[in-house]
Symmetry: D2
Subunit: 279 residues, 4 copies
């Protein structure tokens, strides 16, 4: 039996579930899992529908859905399954390592098309996996020049998502706007907390008993885009700042991988500065 995935985002209205599921039934599509949520602050309806059945006319269904749903509805039928992913790195390996291992065994939910770094230290490691590594140095370049090179490279590959796997350069509003809702970052802290340089040192100085990490979409609010996953891990007074870094990296790795899986399986919707996640 064919499995289909339908994503809907539209203005809320009475009876939306009824009219959608009725249409599914009419097309002999059996809903096997349906998740919906209404963001009442924004009066917006979100649905993720898995349904089984032969869907021979996707365009037809799309048109019919458009007709019965409110104006300006966003409807996606059977989104691309294997997302194409570009990874940007600086020097730290822990997130990249986890991504490349999963990529090798096809459990990432997407495929890494390339890795680019503003340093080249992770090139030998990336080479082991047979993935192209591009060294785009920021040295002796204006920010604009540097980003222009990066954009050129990204446009050549045309990825569905750009993952900042400990990429330590702040991206300009122009860059971010160009890839709206397509850039995923891992932040070394919960948000909001210890924003800025050396957050683990800040956490150490503050004597916190819990540290964490946040995966989020990048917007032009630095470190402040819609949060996808957050997790925490306990620490105590015996942790030096370097131990906090080490514990933090474990959480970062785990949080980013979890977030990527959710996004690549089309389980994450963005509503304003928040996410809705149909796990």
């Amino acid at each position: 039996m064919n499995e289909n995935l339908i994503l809907i985002e539209c203005k809320d209205n009475v009876g939306l579930v009824a009219i959608i599921s009725e249409l599914m039934a009419k097309h002999n599509l059996n809903i096997t899992a349906m998740r919906e949520f209404v963001d009442q602050d924004k009066n917006t309806f979100f649905a993720r529908i898995e349904c089984a059945g032969l869907l021979d006319d996707e365009t037809g269904l799309q048109l019919e859905l458009q007709k019965i749903l409110p104006l300006e509805s966003k409807i996606t039928i059977n989104p691309k399954k294997e997302k194409k992913v570009a990874v940007l790195v600086t020097k730290e390996y822990h997130c990249l390592g986890d991504i490349l291992v999963r990529d090798t065994f096809k459990t990432l939910g997407g495929h890494v098309c390339m890795v680019a770094g503003n340093y080249d230290v992770l090139k030998p490691f990336t080479d082991r996996f047979g993935i192209p590594f591009h060294h785009v140095s920021h040295d002796n370049k204006s920010k604009q020049q540097f980003e222009q090179e990066l954009i050129q490279l990204l446009e050549d590959y045309n990825p569905d998502y750009i993952v900042l796997a400990k990429f330590m350069r702040i991206l300009s509003p122009e860059f971010v706007a160009r890839f709206e809702h397509k850039i995923i970052n891992i932040h070394h802290s919960f948000l909001p907390a210890f924003i800025g340089a050396n957050p683990y040192r800040q956490a150490y100085d503050r004597g916190v008993k819990v540290i964490g990490a946040t995966a989020h979409f990048v917007t032009n609010d630095l470190d402040e885009g819609p949060i996808i996953v957050q997790q925490t891990t306990p620490v105590n007074h015996t942790f030096k700042a370097s131990d906090m870094v080490k514990a933090g990296k474990e959480v970062e790795k785990s949080v980013l991988s979890k977030a990527l899986q959710l996004v690549f399986q089309d389980r994450v919707f963005i509503t304003g500065n928040k996410t809705i996640i149909f796990e």
Copy 2:
């Protein structure tokens, strides 16, 4: 605006969500939250529907639902909001304490009508809350006599749920059958693990690094009914058996309270030996 709650449990079928939501729309009920799940092993459909709107003819809606749903569907419209709860205890206070405090401030999701204990040590404590305490001793009685007394007492109060808040007597199959799916127990361990007497001693002897607790419905499989909530907490080599007991009590208290809230808000469905929980 009136808020309504509708619970449905029936054989699975194509288009169930459509026909249900259509009927809601016809009655001018706006679905504000709908959760459904199909247990594919048992081919059973479960739904919990919150809808807003004036529902002036509950019986009518019930009949219409019966007509459009498969035979032998279980339909509940606006279940009793304030569950009546009887609590059975032995000597330990920690779960009872949490229940009575929540009861006092009306955040339990139900109302404690009485506490019964096979010892009377918790009577003075229960008295503080103005809740009747019944001492039903098991001394010098056959199990049957003891349970007969308990049943009599419970039938006088006619509670919706019976909570075993560290009640240390094993109930007979007859007792359990009489209150099917209405008895909730807190088990001092995960399940399955360390079944039998003195589980924390067993955990200590085994040198475990994690302990936990399980809240479950009681069936005639001892300690083996459908699980509602499980949680764990880390322990280490410095924990004596008594420290494990102490840490365990914290988890028990928290797990039982969580389970009661879920059950009393009609978020828990039983399917075979498992639960479906619409949190």
Copy 3:
């Protein structure tokens, strides 16, 4: 066998553990658990020593310790076991409830001598436990007058610790200075995060996936004293701000109780703006 507890805080030095444990042996005190830690940033040594044996001359041991340890060492032999505790509240019951239940069954590690509230809503509840409740209204009073009344009351009881169990008034530097290292607060968030009014609303607006709570000593840095315990709990997009409040209360209750137990068992040392905790 008598059990003794010795607490030491002094400048670090080579061989401290040796000279301390040698002295214990000389007094026929068998060390059953010894925890020590050196805060290298502050060059300070902390030790918590449990030892078994008849200690007939506490003053003598104290003097001998003073002689062999660096100048200005802080030495405590057998600190008061049952701490006297005053609780300040406003309107929320969840932390107070947990404290009073534990107090009733003597598992708090201290004894609640009184509860004071700037509102009287928790008086009937406190009365159930036979604990004096004092209503110290802040209405129509200057902050200074209000605090003066509170100080008077506290001085009458002379508690070892003052617990702010959701006490919603900001205390003046004078008040805090008067009870240095004796005031424990529960903060409705991790620190640093969402400081200020209505933090759960802020967390909701930000779409966080984790919320938490922090128990800390109160210093004149608002919400910024040494952290004792922090815990977090996952939330998701289905949580309304009110659900976050509810989930947050569970964490607050649990975090505060844990912190009180640690402090009352003399397991918490303060070093600058941090704590060292010998669990």
Copy 4:
């Protein structure tokens, strides 16, 4: 300044900490971190001492320690820092992947000298890291023959530890005895729980709400050696058995890596069927 590590395991006695730390001081070794624990059930004293200072006569210190400590004490001064590690696998990559990435960046706390598998599916992956992979098939061999080949191979490499990274063959008592306290396994469950084949299926059938994993030393009690690390992760009714497998793998990976780091840093002592861990 030179950093030294001293490990002691001996019969308990009054004043052990004193005489040990005195000897350290005499050798001008400044104790920077000392952890000790007495297993009172077995009357055994364990200590892990980090000390700074020039230790020019290790043998002399060893002899002096032997003289002052009880007979048959086990004393290790500056154990080998970089453990040599052999990894045994079958077909699953997730634990191996994490180990090899950490190995590449030298954060494993040891060095992987070889990987052996009873299948060869993980050979191409291992090759990427430049680590020798040996295919030791169990096909058409008696268990004894198979293990003899494995032992031969292991003896050629002479590793400090053997990691069973999802190695799905049960090892004979003879094999286990040959590498006593040197074999570390990751078990797909907590212990004790769901022992035997297909534990995630069992967990699914039982409707558990929490799953976990256990890293432990292998003894001749199958799946029952001293536990090093256990962790759990929540699951719910929407998890199919395959989702539980997936969630379980994440925990397994994380638990095994954590356990390896602890063991390789000489933080784990074995006492009977338990571990003492100085984190």
